[in-house]
Protein backbone atom coordinates (compact mmCIF):
# COMPACT_ATOMS: atom_id res chain seq x y z
CA UNK A 1 0.00 0.00 0.00
CA UNK A 2 1.33 3.43 -0.94
CA UNK A 3 1.26 5.93 1.89
CA UNK A 4 0.83 9.62 1.15
CA UNK A 5 1.74 12.07 3.90
CA UNK A 6 -0.99 14.59 4.56
CA UNK A 7 0.52 17.71 6.18
CA UNK A 8 -2.39 17.70 8.62
CA UNK A 9 -3.09 13.99 9.31
CA UNK A 10 0.29 12.34 8.67
CA UNK A 11 0.94 9.22 6.56
CA UNK A 12 -2.30 7.77 5.21
CA UNK A 13 -3.30 5.24 2.55
CA UNK A 14 -3.31 6.58 -0.99
CA UNK A 15 -6.93 5.52 -1.54
CA UNK A 16 -8.04 8.37 0.75
CA UNK A 17 -6.53 10.96 -1.63
CA UNK A 18 -7.27 12.50 -5.01
CA UNK A 19 -4.70 14.02 -7.29
CA UNK A 20 -5.69 17.52 -8.35
CA UNK A 21 -3.18 18.48 -11.02
CA UNK A 22 -0.14 20.70 -11.17
CA UNK A 23 0.36 23.04 -8.23
CA UNK A 24 1.21 26.74 -8.06
CA UNK A 25 -0.74 27.82 -11.11
CA UNK A 26 -1.80 31.36 -10.32
CA UNK A 27 -5.05 32.66 -11.69
CA UNK A 28 -4.32 35.62 -13.97
CA UNK A 29 -5.92 39.02 -13.50
CA UNK A 30 -9.41 39.49 -14.92
CA UNK A 31 -7.91 41.86 -17.53
CA UNK A 32 -5.71 39.10 -19.03
CA UNK A 33 -5.77 38.17 -22.71
CA UNK A 34 -7.59 35.12 -24.06
CA UNK A 35 -4.24 33.39 -24.58
CA UNK A 36 -3.23 33.95 -20.95
CA UNK A 37 -6.60 32.64 -19.82
CA UNK A 38 -6.28 29.56 -22.04
CA UNK A 39 -2.79 28.99 -20.59
CA UNK A 40 -4.18 29.14 -17.09
CA UNK A 41 -7.04 26.78 -17.85
CA UNK A 42 -5.41 24.19 -20.06
CA UNK A 43 -1.64 24.36 -20.38
CA UNK A 44 0.38 22.17 -17.99
CA UNK A 45 4.04 21.16 -17.87
CA UNK A 46 3.26 17.44 -17.57
CA UNK A 47 6.90 16.44 -17.69
CA UNK A 48 8.55 13.18 -16.71
CA UNK A 49 10.19 13.61 -13.33
CA UNK A 50 9.54 15.47 -10.12
CA UNK A 51 6.58 17.80 -10.17
CA UNK A 52 4.81 19.90 -7.63
CA UNK A 53 1.21 18.73 -7.52
CA UNK A 54 -1.96 19.56 -5.65
CA UNK A 55 -3.51 16.69 -3.80
CA UNK A 56 -6.62 16.54 -1.67
CA UNK A 57 -7.15 14.33 1.39
CA UNK A 58 -10.70 13.81 0.29
CA UNK A 59 -11.59 10.87 2.58
CA UNK A 60 -9.71 12.39 5.52
CA UNK A 61 -9.37 16.00 6.58
CA UNK A 62 -10.66 17.15 3.19
CA UNK A 63 -7.89 19.71 2.77
CA UNK A 64 -5.96 20.54 -0.40
CA UNK A 65 -2.18 20.55 -0.04
CA UNK A 66 0.91 20.27 -2.24
CA UNK A 67 3.37 17.46 -2.81
CA UNK A 68 6.55 16.85 -4.74
CA UNK A 69 6.03 13.61 -6.64
CA UNK A 70 7.91 11.81 -9.37
CA UNK A 71 5.55 11.26 -12.27
CA UNK A 72 7.32 8.11 -13.48
CA UNK A 73 8.24 6.28 -10.27
CA UNK A 74 5.33 7.70 -8.22
CA UNK A 75 7.80 8.49 -5.42
CA UNK A 76 6.54 11.17 -3.03
CA UNK A 77 9.37 13.18 -1.51
CA UNK A 78 7.60 16.09 0.23
CA UNK A 79 4.18 17.32 1.35
CA UNK A 80 3.50 20.88 2.34
CA UNK A 81 0.53 23.06 3.19
CA UNK A 82 -0.82 25.66 0.81
CA UNK A 83 1.13 28.86 1.43
CA UNK A 84 4.17 27.14 2.91
CA UNK A 85 7.59 27.55 1.37
CA UNK A 86 8.19 25.23 -1.56
CA UNK A 87 10.57 22.37 -0.73
CA UNK A 88 13.46 21.83 -3.11
CA UNK A 89 13.04 19.47 -6.03
CA UNK A 90 15.52 16.60 -5.54
CA UNK A 91 18.14 15.69 -8.08
CA UNK A 92 16.80 13.27 -10.69
CA UNK A 93 19.14 10.53 -9.46
CA UNK A 94 17.17 10.35 -6.23
CA UNK A 95 14.03 9.31 -8.08
CA UNK A 96 14.59 5.59 -7.62
CA UNK A 97 14.60 3.02 -10.39
CA UNK A 98 14.43 4.62 -13.80
CA UNK A 99 11.52 3.43 -15.87
CA UNK A 100 11.95 3.72 -19.60
CA UNK A 101 8.81 3.76 -21.66
CA UNK A 102 9.42 1.77 -24.83
CA UNK A 103 7.29 2.52 -27.84
Amino acid sequence: MLLVTCPYCGPRPEIEFRQAGEAHIARPAITCSDDEWADFLYMRDNHKGYMRERWRHVAGCGRFFNVVRHTVTDKFVASYKVGEEKPAIPAEAAAGPRVEIVR
Binding site: M1, Y8, C9, G10, R12, P13, I15, E16, A59, G60, C61, G62, R63
Partner: protein, 187 residues
Protein backbone atom coordinates in the same frame (compact mmCIF):
# COMPACT_ATOMS: atom_id res chain seq x y z
CA UNK B 1 -55.42 12.95 9.33
CA UNK B 2 -52.22 13.09 11.28
CA UNK B 3 -49.31 14.96 9.71
CA UNK B 4 -46.67 13.71 12.12
CA UNK B 5 -43.39 12.64 10.56
CA UNK B 6 -42.19 9.24 11.73
CA UNK B 7 -38.49 8.67 12.15
CA UNK B 8 -37.58 5.42 10.42
CA UNK B 9 -34.45 3.55 11.38
CA UNK B 10 -31.87 3.27 8.63
CA UNK B 11 -31.19 -0.23 9.98
CA UNK B 12 -34.76 -1.53 9.71
CA UNK B 13 -34.73 -4.96 8.14
CA UNK B 14 -30.96 -5.32 8.46
CA UNK B 15 -29.38 -8.04 10.58
CA UNK B 16 -26.49 -6.76 12.64
CA UNK B 17 -23.69 -9.32 12.77
CA UNK B 18 -22.28 -10.69 16.01
CA UNK B 19 -19.53 -13.14 16.85
CA UNK B 20 -19.77 -14.58 20.33
CA UNK B 21 -17.04 -13.25 22.66
CA UNK B 22 -15.35 -11.53 19.75
CA UNK B 23 -17.59 -8.90 18.20
CA UNK B 24 -20.84 -7.15 18.94
CA UNK B 25 -22.40 -4.56 16.67
CA UNK B 26 -25.05 -2.22 18.02
CA UNK B 27 -26.81 0.81 16.61
CA UNK B 28 -25.76 4.02 18.36
CA UNK B 29 -28.73 5.75 19.96
CA UNK B 30 -30.36 8.62 18.06
CA UNK B 31 -28.21 11.68 18.62
CA UNK B 32 -27.78 15.32 17.81
CA UNK B 33 -25.02 15.63 15.24
CA UNK B 34 -23.51 18.86 13.97
CA UNK B 35 -20.91 19.71 11.41
CA UNK B 36 -18.88 22.66 12.69
CA UNK B 37 -16.73 24.67 10.29
CA UNK B 38 -14.72 27.59 11.57
CA UNK B 39 -11.43 28.68 13.08
CA UNK B 40 -9.92 27.03 16.18
CA UNK B 41 -10.94 30.19 18.07
CA UNK B 42 -14.56 29.67 17.01
CA UNK B 43 -14.33 26.04 18.13
CA UNK B 44 -12.88 27.06 21.48
CA UNK B 45 -15.71 29.56 22.01
CA UNK B 46 -18.24 26.85 21.21
CA UNK B 47 -16.48 24.44 23.56
CA UNK B 48 -16.99 26.77 26.50
CA UNK B 49 -20.75 26.25 26.14
CA UNK B 50 -20.86 22.79 24.59
CA UNK B 51 -18.66 21.03 27.14
CA UNK B 52 -15.83 19.30 25.34
CA UNK B 53 -13.52 21.84 23.72
CA UNK B 54 -12.87 20.70 20.13
CA UNK B 55 -9.30 19.49 19.72
CA UNK B 56 -6.75 21.44 17.73
CA UNK B 57 -4.58 18.34 17.57
CA UNK B 58 -5.21 16.46 14.34
CA UNK B 59 -7.40 13.36 14.47
CA UNK B 60 -8.29 13.59 18.14
CA UNK B 61 -11.70 13.52 19.79
CA UNK B 62 -12.56 15.24 23.05
CA UNK B 63 -15.54 14.25 25.14
CA UNK B 64 -17.23 15.37 28.32
CA UNK B 65 -20.10 13.37 29.72
CA UNK B 66 -22.23 12.26 26.78
CA UNK B 67 -21.07 15.01 24.42
CA UNK B 68 -18.14 14.71 22.06
CA UNK B 69 -16.26 16.76 19.47
CA UNK B 70 -14.31 14.88 16.82
CA UNK B 71 -11.52 16.58 14.85
CA UNK B 72 -12.12 16.02 11.13
CA UNK B 73 -9.96 18.78 9.66
CA UNK B 74 -8.07 21.90 10.77
CA UNK B 75 -11.31 23.88 10.52
CA UNK B 76 -13.87 21.09 10.78
CA UNK B 77 -15.31 19.15 13.71
CA UNK B 78 -18.10 16.62 14.15
CA UNK B 79 -20.16 17.20 17.27
CA UNK B 80 -22.23 14.57 19.04
CA UNK B 81 -24.78 15.13 21.80
CA UNK B 82 -27.70 13.10 23.15
CA UNK B 83 -30.95 13.27 21.17
CA UNK B 84 -33.01 16.36 21.89
CA UNK B 85 -33.85 19.78 20.51
CA UNK B 86 -31.10 20.17 17.92
CA UNK B 87 -32.24 23.62 16.77
CA UNK B 88 -32.27 25.07 20.30
CA UNK B 89 -28.84 23.67 21.13
CA UNK B 90 -27.42 24.95 17.83
CA UNK B 91 -28.78 28.42 18.55
CA UNK B 92 -27.17 28.50 21.99
CA UNK B 93 -23.86 27.24 20.61
CA UNK B 94 -23.83 29.68 17.70
CA UNK B 95 -24.59 32.55 20.07
CA UNK B 96 -21.33 31.80 21.90
CA UNK B 97 -19.26 32.30 18.73
CA UNK B 98 -18.73 35.86 17.56
CA UNK B 99 -16.92 35.18 14.32
CA UNK B 100 -17.89 33.60 11.00
CA UNK B 101 -18.62 29.90 11.29
CA UNK B 102 -21.06 27.26 10.07
CA UNK B 103 -22.87 24.97 12.47
CA UNK B 104 -25.07 22.61 10.49
CA UNK B 105 -27.51 20.13 11.97
CA UNK B 106 -26.87 16.73 10.35
CA UNK B 107 -28.57 14.66 13.05
CA UNK B 108 -30.78 12.87 10.56
CA UNK B 109 -28.23 12.55 7.77
CA UNK B 110 -25.85 10.34 9.72
CA UNK B 111 -26.23 7.18 11.74
CA UNK B 112 -23.81 5.37 13.98
CA UNK B 113 -22.73 1.83 14.81
CA UNK B 114 -20.73 0.70 17.79
CA UNK B 115 -18.36 -2.20 17.21
CA UNK B 116 -17.07 -3.81 20.36
CA UNK B 117 -14.92 -6.83 21.05
CA UNK B 118 -11.41 -8.16 20.54
CA UNK B 119 -12.03 -8.60 16.81
CA UNK B 120 -13.57 -5.18 16.19
CA UNK B 121 -10.35 -3.71 14.76
CA UNK B 122 -9.81 -6.76 12.53
CA UNK B 123 -13.35 -6.61 11.18
CA UNK B 124 -12.97 -2.89 10.48
CA UNK B 125 -9.65 -3.57 8.78
CA UNK B 126 -11.49 -5.91 6.45
CA UNK B 127 -12.46 -2.80 4.50
CA UNK B 128 -10.67 0.14 6.16
CA UNK B 129 -7.07 0.73 5.07
CA UNK B 130 -5.87 2.50 8.23
CA UNK B 131 -3.43 0.96 10.71
CA UNK B 132 -5.74 0.28 13.67
CA UNK B 133 -3.05 -0.94 16.06
CA UNK B 134 -3.10 0.68 19.49
CA UNK B 135 -0.01 2.72 18.76
CA UNK B 136 -1.08 4.04 15.35
CA UNK B 137 -4.75 4.54 16.24
CA UNK B 138 -4.97 5.01 20.02
CA UNK B 139 -8.09 5.40 22.12
CA UNK B 140 -9.48 8.90 21.51
CA UNK B 141 -8.39 9.05 17.88
CA UNK B 142 -11.00 10.04 15.32
CA UNK B 143 -10.86 10.59 11.60
CA UNK B 144 -12.79 10.49 8.40
CA UNK B 145 -11.73 7.50 6.33
CA UNK B 146 -13.18 4.79 4.10
CA UNK B 147 -14.95 1.50 4.72
CA UNK B 148 -14.55 -0.04 1.28
CA UNK B 149 -16.17 2.62 -0.91
CA UNK B 150 -18.20 4.35 1.77
CA UNK B 151 -16.93 7.39 3.61
CA UNK B 152 -17.06 6.89 7.37
CA UNK B 153 -16.03 8.68 10.53
CA UNK B 154 -14.11 6.33 12.80
CA UNK B 155 -13.65 7.03 16.50
CA UNK B 156 -11.87 4.67 18.87
CA UNK B 157 -13.70 5.08 22.16
CA UNK B 158 -12.01 2.16 23.93
CA UNK B 159 -9.27 -0.36 23.41
CA UNK B 160 -11.72 -2.74 21.73
CA UNK B 161 -14.57 -0.32 20.98
CA UNK B 162 -15.09 1.81 17.88
CA UNK B 163 -17.88 4.15 16.90
CA UNK B 164 -18.50 4.36 13.18
CA UNK B 165 -20.62 7.20 11.78
CA UNK B 166 -21.79 7.41 8.18
CA UNK B 167 -24.57 8.60 5.91
CA UNK B 168 -27.80 6.76 6.60
CA UNK B 169 -28.16 5.65 2.98
CA UNK B 170 -24.92 3.65 3.35
CA UNK B 171 -26.37 1.56 6.19
CA UNK B 172 -27.16 -1.51 4.10
CA UNK B 173 -23.81 -1.43 2.33
CA UNK B 174 -21.80 -1.03 5.52
CA UNK B 175 -23.74 -3.53 7.64
CA UNK B 176 -23.47 -6.07 4.83
CA UNK B 177 -19.73 -5.59 4.56
CA UNK B 178 -19.22 -5.78 8.31
CA UNK B 179 -21.16 -9.04 8.32
CA UNK B 180 -19.03 -10.36 5.46
CA UNK B 181 -15.79 -9.34 7.19
CA UNK B 182 -16.98 -10.84 10.48
CA UNK B 183 -17.57 -14.28 8.96
CA UNK B 184 -13.93 -15.33 9.12
CA UNK B 185 -13.86 -14.55 12.82
CA UNK B 186 -16.84 -16.79 13.55
CA UNK B 187 -14.96 -20.06 13.15
Amino acid sequence: MSETATRLSAFAGLTLPAVRNRLSVTVAPDAIRYSLRGSPAAAAALGAVFGPVPSTTACRATSAGDRAALWLGPDEWYLLAPDGDAAALAASLSAAIDEPHALVDISHRNVGLILKGPRAADVLNGACPLDLSETAFPVGMSTRTLYAKAEIILWRTGLDTFRVEFWRSFAGYIVGLIAENAREHAV
